[in-house]
């Protein structure tokens, strides 16, 4: 059991070391990189099976006595997130391989390190170790943003690194203050610490604020829409599925341990969640490129993910987890579609695109289903998540929060329609008929393509690689429909995990026993 608990952190690090040795063998590197992430999916599924029914497992690394050893804990929430994040990462790697984004010899090792940091933060039970896993994840992501090394990347990278380093420094000082007040950094021992230890509130608030920066909650969100559209498209998809979700997960965990029974924390997060939803969706209106719009929607959706903490009932946690799990796949797949569009046409500007429904119908369907899910239209999984969430809000008499959640869904639908109209409907532009992007990625180009402008348009290229560009999005589309129709099993799977969040007693017991 303890091997399985440490695996989400240790396995990707080992794979990263191996991949670094293979940096002169790109094909082998690609195979091993993908195989490593598939192994992580297996680890995730193993953890989900082991924690089904609300069981919690904990282990102390190295056998040190309590308080000194690093604790790894897996409950339902961490297990589901480990599984979900690794599945989405496999899809992102498929797209990255299809568009040759992984050509850089450091790409696969960095992705492995990134996964070590993210999955490590899901299973760690210790606040300082959380800081370390966050740093592991961020350092890998700094380099991934700057990997292409052009002027835009360097500029975005500077913003990203500066904001996140400032947050990390705050996190570290917060942990120091918390240790000074409470004498421990173990999350389980810090249960209700804010209520019981008078001076712990300052450190805990600093920690929560630093995590809110990484989750990009308004008003600490402005770095995200400036950075994400600049990184490589498949890299953005990977970040969207992993980075902010780690922040949201830690907020959930802090809520159930450090801030347990603190009403002020809940109320602040409720307000922040509602404001985040609105600001994010309004920000998207002003953008005219696919990934820019999607990046602002990420900010908006973080509001939905944090709203359950503000509501604070078992029903809300269940809704939040259902929404979070399907959202991981949905957002990842939307960014992957954006990556495919940019690979094929060479641009992500809506003004230069149009009519792709006729040239690339598979891609259009792969965009449509997750986009409807993001807006919460039945019969997709997003509808189930949002319905449960709004229902939970109304049950707790939070009419305004529930109402805003519904209104923001409509606004989300509007900007999804904006992308749909801009990219898939309307007149075909020369970028869409000639597909000049493909030439840049050394795809075979049809006679008369890539340069010749006049109709009749040349037949579009279809081969294994263009198929691989559309496949992940289509797969998620099917998944979104399946989860929408068969939501019952998912809710049953998530229910015990939500119980553990609302009442962390099994979590505390497991850590004390270990």
């Amino acid at each position: 059991m303890s091997a399985l608990l440490v695996a989400p952190f240790a396995l990707p690090l080992a794979v990263a070391a191996l991949l670094l040795l293979l940096r002169r063998r790109p094909h082998l590197q690609r195979v091993i990189g993908v195989a490593g992430v598939v192994a992580l999916v297996a680890v995730g599924v193993g953890l989900v099976v082991a924690t089904a029914g609300g069981e919690v497992h904990a282990t102390r690394v190295g056998g040190w006595p309590g308080g000194l050893a690093i604790v790894f804990v897996a409950d339902g929430v961490s297990a589901l997130l480990v599984a979900g994040a690794s599945i989405v990462s496999v899809l992102c790697l498929v797209t990255a391989a299809a568009r040759d984004e992984d050509r850089h010899p450091l790409f696969h090792p960095l992705v492995a390190v990134l996964l070590a940091g993210v999955l490590g933060s899901f299973v760690t039970g210790d606040l300082f170790n959380l800081f370390v896993t966050f740093e592991v994840m961020l350092i890998a992501s700094y380099v991934l943003v700057a990997l292409r090394g052009g002027p835009r990347e360097v500029r975005a990278s500077t913003v990203y690194v500066t904001v996140n380093l400032l947050a990390s420094a705050m996190l570290l000082i917060g942990i120091a203050l918390l240790y000074g007040a409470a004498g421990t950094v173990e999350l389980a021992s810090l249960h209700r610490v804010v209520v019981e230890v008078p001076n712990a509130a300052i450190g805990a608030t600093l920690v929560a604020t630093a995590v809110a920066v990484k989750a990009s909650l308004v008003p600490l969100h402005s770095w995200l829409p400036r950075v994400y559209p600049v990184a490589g498209p498949a890299t953005t998809a990977l970040f969207s599925a992993l980075l902010t979700k780690a922040g949201v997960y830690v907020l959930l965990r802090l809520d159930s341990t450090v801030f347990a029974d603190v009403d002020a924390f809940r109320q602040v997060l409720l307000v922040v969640a509602v404001v985040t939803m609105v600001i994010g969706v309004l920000g998207a209106v002003g953008r005219s490129d696919v990934r820019g719009i999607l990046s602002f929607h990420m900010v908006s959706q973080v509001g939905y993910l944090v709203l359950p903490i503000g509501i604070g009932t078992v029903a809300a946690y269940t809704a939040g987890l259902v929404y979070l799990l399907q959202y991981l796949a949905v957002k990842g797949s939307l960014f992957l579609t954006a990556a495919a569009i940019e690979t094929i046409t060479g641009t992500g500007q809506l003004a230069r695109l149009g009519g792709m429904l006729r040239t690339r119908p598979a891609l259009a369907i792969g965009f449509l289903l997750p986009a409807l899910s993001l807006a919460g239209i039945p019969p997709t999984s997003g509808f189930v998540g949002k319905f449960l969430l709004v229902d939970a809000a109304f049950e707790s008499h939070l009419l305004l929060a529930g109402g805003v959640a519904v209104a923001v869904s409509f606004a989300t639908l509007l900007s999804m329609l904006k992308i749909w109209n801009g990219v898939f409907w309307g007149e075909r532009t020369s970028e869409v008929t000639d597909e000049p992007g493909l030439a840049a990625y050394s795809f075979p180009v049809p006679a008369g393509g890539a340069g010749g402008g006049d109709p009749p348009a040349p037949p579009v290229v279809r081969n294994g690689r263009t198929l691989a560009l559309a496949a992940p999005a289509l797969l998620v589309g099917v998944l979104v429909l399946a989860l929408g129709v068969l939501a019952g099993p998912l809710v049953d799977l998530v229910q015990p995990a939500a119980q553990t969040l609302a009442d962390p007693q099994p979590y505390l017991d497991a850590v004390r026993r270990s």
């Binding site: 308080g67 000194l68 984004e101 300082f128 800081f131 370390v132 740093e135 350092i139 700094y142 380099v143 700057a146 292409r148 090394g149 052009g150 002027p151 835009r152 360097v154 500029r155 975005a156 990278s157 500077t158 913003v159 690194v161 500066t162 380093l165 400032l166 420094a169 570290l172 000082i173 942990i175 120091a176 203050l177 240790y179 000074g180 950094v185 400036r226 600049v230 490589g232 498209p233 005219s288 490129d289 820019g292 940019e342 690979t343 060479g346 641009t347 992500g348 500007q349 809506l350 003004a351 230069r352 020369s430 970028e431 000049p436 992007g437 840049a440 990625y441 340069g451 402008g453």
Partner: protein, 142 residues
């Protein structure tokens, strides 16, 4: 008290430097902030308890945990400093300066919306020109 003052001064100086425009100053700011955090960690274990931990020597043994934290934090901030310096070097290489707020930079929000506006009015010579600001092409030119 001394520890609190040191943390305060380091954090203030670090924050001031981080708010500057050049990457090198920002880097130095983070070095100072890292020192502030390290000092805070050490102070969390009690500054007065400074004898050897674990050995059981006379006096008050120090708390080993904050020392381990501080050591880890120092290693991490060292790595990040190295990355920031590499970024500063790269910035000088590609942009010719290390000013992060310089308005002439390609890729600012203002810049992007301007190029999007231009593109709505297709010109005659635009068809002949390949899309040179497409990310794919730029990647190719790396």
């Amino acid at each position: 008290m001394t520890a609190a003052l040191i943390v305060g001064i380091l954090a203030a100086a670090g924050t001031y430097l981080v708010l500057q425009r050049g990457i090198v100053r920002i880097t130095l700011g983070f070095v100072l902030l890292g020192h502030a955090a390290t000092t805070a960690l050490l102070a969390a274990g009690g500054v007065a308890r400074r004898d050897l931990a674990f050995v059981g020597a006379p006096g008050t043994p120090g708390d080993p945990l904050p020392q381990a934290f501080a050591l880890t934090a120092i290693v991490i901030s060292f790595g990040v400093t190295a990355f920031l310096l590499a970024l500063a070097y790269r910035s000088r290489d590609t942009l010719g300066h290390d000013d992060v707020e310089a308005p002439d930079l390609e890729g600012s929000l203002l810049d992007q919306s301007a190029s999007a506006l231009e593109l709505r009015i297709p010109t005659a010579d635009e068809d002949a020109e390949p899309v040179d600001d497409a990310p794919g092409n730029r990647e190719d030119g790396r």
